[in-house]
């Protein structure tokens, strides 16, 4: 998955639609280009279609019309397994394998890719340090022995294991308490400064979007309302985006 030139669209939705079998239209003609190295946040309320958009990128779902291109190639032309191995995937509650230790969880993709044992082990240690987990302490623990925040760190480490250029994150910090969430958001922002991955991040949390995004794509009822920089989003005049922002500000006013 290497060789994508800088600033070229790494991921591109062209008129991408998704409709469940005999169900309603969940994503309606989405047009969006995501360039290399940016953190694009898909923001919207629950059921707006943002997770669907994300899952179209690694072909966990296939567009019912239009196309989604990754590195210039339609996802339908990719071998799904090869496509997914080159895209890190982090979900809420991490989805760690309960029967694997932290070490095996993090080393999953390297193991699938048949890396030599030594290289795999070194990579796991490196990743645990990168995500703020002491390898000596955590490598041999099982997921149920970890806190929610620690599990999510392992989830991020696992997604980064084979150094994929793209990272998809579906409300990764959504299930954490506010304090832990803030901690992880900050560390994650620092991490991204060093790694320069192309990140697509799904959240319904406006504050999280403003904090992490280089651009915010606001989605409502399956349609892309607009794409904003965080600064622009604060002054968005589009009614739905403005309403979303107002709801966020209402919370803030209580704190004053």
């Amino acid at each position: 998955m290497n060789g994508a030139a800088k600033n070229q669209a790494t991921i591109e939705f062209s008129d991408a639609c998704f409709r469940a079998v005999d169900g309603p239209i969940i994503l309606d003609h989405l047009n969006l280009a995501i360039s290399s190295g940016e953190t694009l946040v898909l923001l919207g309320r629950s059921g707006s279609g943002k997770t669907t958009a994300l899952r179209l990128i690694n072909r966990l779902l296939e567009p019912t019309a239009g196309a989604v291109k990754v590195e210039g190639r339609s996802t339908l032309d990719w071998d799904p397994v090869a496509l997914r191995r080159g895209i890190g995937y982090v979900i809420q509650d991490a989805g760690l394998f309960p029967h694997y230790t932290v070490e095996r969880n993090v080393g999953l993709v390297p193991w699938l890719e048949k890396w030599p044992e030594e290289r795999k082990r070194a990579r796991v240690v490196e990743l645990l340090q990168l995500t703020g987990l002491d390898p000596a302490k955590f490598a041999h623990r099982y997921p149920h022995e970890l806190s929610g925040g620690q599990r999510q760190r392992v989830g991020v480490a696992r997604a980064l294991a084979a150094d994929p250029p793209i990272l998809l994150m579906d409300e990764p910090f959504g299930a954490l308490d506010p304090l832990t969430r803030g901690e992880l958001q900050k560390e994650f922002a620092d991490l991204q400064k060093r790694l320069h991955k192309t990140i697509v991040f799904v959240t319904h949390d406006t504050r999280e979007a403003l904090f992490l995004a280089t651009r915010i794509a606001f989605i409502e009822a399956g349609r892309l309302v607009g794409v904003y920089t965080p600064e622009d989003f604060l002054h968005a005049t589009e009614p739905v985006a403005a309403a979303y922002l107002a709801a966020c500000r209402m919370g803030d006013s209580l704190l004053k």
Binding site: L60, V81, R84, R85, Q92, G95, P98, V109, L112, H144
Partner: protein, 211 residues
């Protein structure tokens, strides 16, 4: 004390009947596991096939055992040998708990874990072998445990068609109205069932993962 003396005097016969019993149960269980686990996997992966599969196994379960032995008697190859017939019938009984538990175990795997596995680029077979089956393994073992205990009990009835086993004593005891003879079959059969329950139960705990 009389009973213990009786057991001791007939220890050779009881021992060989116990071996016969174990052979019937072992062969039937191997067959049932070999057939039941793949069927359980299919039932979990293709819900539209799962219903008829579990339905059919359910029907087999409801046929009274003595009648099932009778029904299979005229079947060409099966009816030739009593043990062959008994093993087939016992395997049919053992299928339902194995199929059902395999399917329940696999469908019960956390959707997030499965989603992460797919998103990470695991193939369907890799997900089955490295994620679903290991996580479903304790359920699967529970099914095997229930089926084994059931089979050990039902295998005593196989003596009615001359397949041997511990049922021989029970049937002879019933005919001769001899309690000691009945117990000489029933007690070892109960001991076998308890032992199987204990061993498989311990294995089941060993393979349970906190999900």
């Amino acid at each position: 004390m009389d009973f213990l003396h009786f057991m001791f005097r007939n220890r050779d016969q009881i021992f060989s009947a116990t071996l016969e019993h174990l052979w019937l149960v072992g062969a039937a269980m191997s067959l049932a596991v070999l057939i039941g686990i793949p069927l359980g996997i299919v039932a979990a992966r293709r819900p539209w096939l799962g219903k008829p599969i579990i339905g059919a196994a359910n029907v087999a379960e409801t046929i009274p055992s003595l009648a099932l032995f009778g029904f299979l008697l005229p079947v060409p190859w099966l009816g030739d040998r009593a043990d062959r017939l008994a093993i087939t019938a016992l395997a049919l009984y053992a299928l339902l708990p194995i199929i059902r538990n395999t399917a329940t175990g696999i469908t019960g795997v956390d959707a997030k874990v499965r989603d992460a596995a797919r998103g990470m680029g695991m193939t369907d077979n890799q997900i089955l072998i490295h994620v679903e089956l290991p996580l479903a393994f304790s359920y699967l073992l529970a099914g095997v445990r229930v089926a084994t205990v059931l089979t050990i009990a039902i295998a005593t009835i196989a003596a009615a068609i001359g397949a041997g086993g511990l049922g021989e004593f029970i049937f002879r005891g019933l005919a001769m109205v001899n309690d000691q003879l009945i117990l000489a079959g029933a007690v070892p059969a109960a001991a076998l069932a308890l032992a199987a329950d204990f061993i498989l139960g311990a294995l089941e705990k060993r393979f349970r993962f906190a999900q």
